[in-house]
């Protein structure tokens, strides 16, 4: 399992263009909004958290189809299914590596983007924390979609159609936490819910994705 994680991180580092692509997409999409909406500080401040969250959602979908597609094409996926390590653990290792190289990068650049919208210090902190809790959920749910669409033509579009409706709660509570913090209300409730979703995802998603992979390769 650790070997799988190390291998995937190493592969991602040797193909930097793919890894950085999603992060650049994230930065560009978020930067387009102030240009499109115009320099109305109050409006931008109110929209900021939502925009950063939606862009993070789209950017994480961008990298998702590749999670299993490359392994399926070169036969590694068959070997994964025949491994002595249980398949859900291998899936978990792959998702962890994927989040580390793509999700964590999104989280890391988000404070800079939040400044564009005039978000204040505490609100930026809450945004960072909500993304830190939320983006792993996106990767976990995305892995189920990626496993279901392995070997399907037009997998990227299908994957987004499958996964985006499922992750709307993450978006609602993630952006909601920042709004609450900005208006001086408590945000513990939203964080608890995000944490609960992460715990559920960590537990259930690897099993679901493993079952989906076995079906896809049958």
């Amino acid at each position: 399992m650790r070997a799988m994680f190390v291998r995937d991180v190493r592969l991602a580092l040797r193909r930097k263009a793919d890894t950085l692509g999603a992060a650049f997409f994230f930065v560009i999409v978020v930067s387009l909004f102030p240009l499109g909406v115009g320099p109305e500080t109050e409006l931008l401040r109110r929209m900021g958290a939502g925009i950063v969250w939606v862009a993070a959602l789209l950017a994480s979908m961008l990298a998702m189809p590749r999670l299993f597609a490359d392994d399926a094409a070169d036969g590694t996926l068959e070997q994964m299914l025949l491994s002595t390590t249980p398949l859900p653990l291998l899936v978990l290792a792959k998702v962890a590596a994927h989040w580390l190289v793509s999700g964590l990068l999104l989280v890391a650049v988000s404070p800079v983007l939040a400044l564009q919208f005039g978000l204040q210090g505490p609100a930026i902190g809450v945004l960072l924390m909500s993304l830190l809790l939320g983006t792993p959920v996106l990767s976990l749910v995305g892995a189920i979609g990626a496993a279901l669409t392995v070997g399907v033509r037009g997998a990227a579009v299908l994957l987004s159609l499958l996964v985006l409706p499922l992750v709307t709660p993450v978006l609602i509570f993630g952006a909601g936490a920042v709004d609450s913090a900005a208006s001086g209300l408590g945000f513990q409730a939203q964080f608890s819910l995000l944490g609960a979703m992460l715990a559920l995802g960590l537990f259930a998603a690897p099993w679901a994705a493993a079952a989906a992979l076995r079906i896809s390769l049958d």
Binding site: M4, R7, D74, M80, L82, S83, T84, T85, D218
Partner: protein, 219 residues
């Protein structure tokens, strides 16, 4: 380097048994009521025209595909019920070489081993690659290797398979030159002499000598 399999150890005698296997692609029946058995020291060669279902049969033997009817038994137990035990006894090499273009030959071989639950030290992996005729190319990324060389990297896994008794190989002789064919035949002979079982598909006759039982399975 090779750990002996032990023909008469404390372990149960290994047998691969297939009962009344059936495969369908849509409405077309590829094969039906296929039964066969392979005991230790036997080589099973599956023959058939293109599209006859050779790869399908091999995928069913290792449990990647579910047969429409029939069962595959390993040591008397259905493989679906004892996946991890069965996988510890199995090496499967499919059509694709399962190499990552961005990893070196050495890293690929080690990653393949770890996936199967074996840890190959760099000297071990180096020896296996050298035996495969890849001396001096261990640290080249797989993307610059030729088709035959990629095949050799994947097959080098066999030399390190240790006590795994069942080898299932899909067209292992494809893209290999004469020297590599002889090397692979040597590996197969050694495995059979150790009491291993080999199931493979091949369009050419397999060049292992007559001392080992060869069974042809026409599809």
């Amino acid at each position: 380097m090779r750990r002996s399999i032990g023909r008469s150890g404390s372990r149960v005698r290994a047998v691969l048994v297939v009962k009344d296997l059936e495969a369908r692609r849509g409405r077309r029946v590829l094969f039906t009521a296929l039964s066969l058995a392979a005991a230790q020291g036997q080589l099973l060669r599956v023959q058939g025209a293109n599209g006859a279902g050779k790869t399908t049969l091999l995928r069913m033997l290792v449990g990647l595909s579910t047969p429409t009817a029939g069962t595959v038994l390993w040591c008397g137990q259905p493989i679906a019920g004892q996946r991890e035990v069965f996988h510890r006894d199995l090496v499967y090499l499919g059509h694709a070489a399962a190499l990552k273009d961005d990893l070196t030959a050495m890293e690929n071989l080690q990653a393949m081993g770890l996936q199967g639950g074996d840890r190959f030290s760099p000297p071990e992996a180096g020896t296996a690659l050298a035996a495969a005729g890849l001396r001096g190319r261990e640290h080249l990324p797989a993307r610059v290797l030729s088709q035959g060389q990629r095949r050799r990297v994947a097959l080098a896994r066999l030399a390190l398979s240790g006590p795994r008794r069942l080898w299932v190989l899909d067209e292992p002789f494809n893209a290999l030159d004469t020297a590599a064919t002889e090397w692979l035949a040597g590996l197969l002979r050694e495995h059979l002499a150790d009491g291993g079982i080999v199931v493979l598909t091949s369009h050419q006759p397999v060049p292992v000598d007559g001392a080992h039982e060869q069974v042809s399975v026409p599809l």
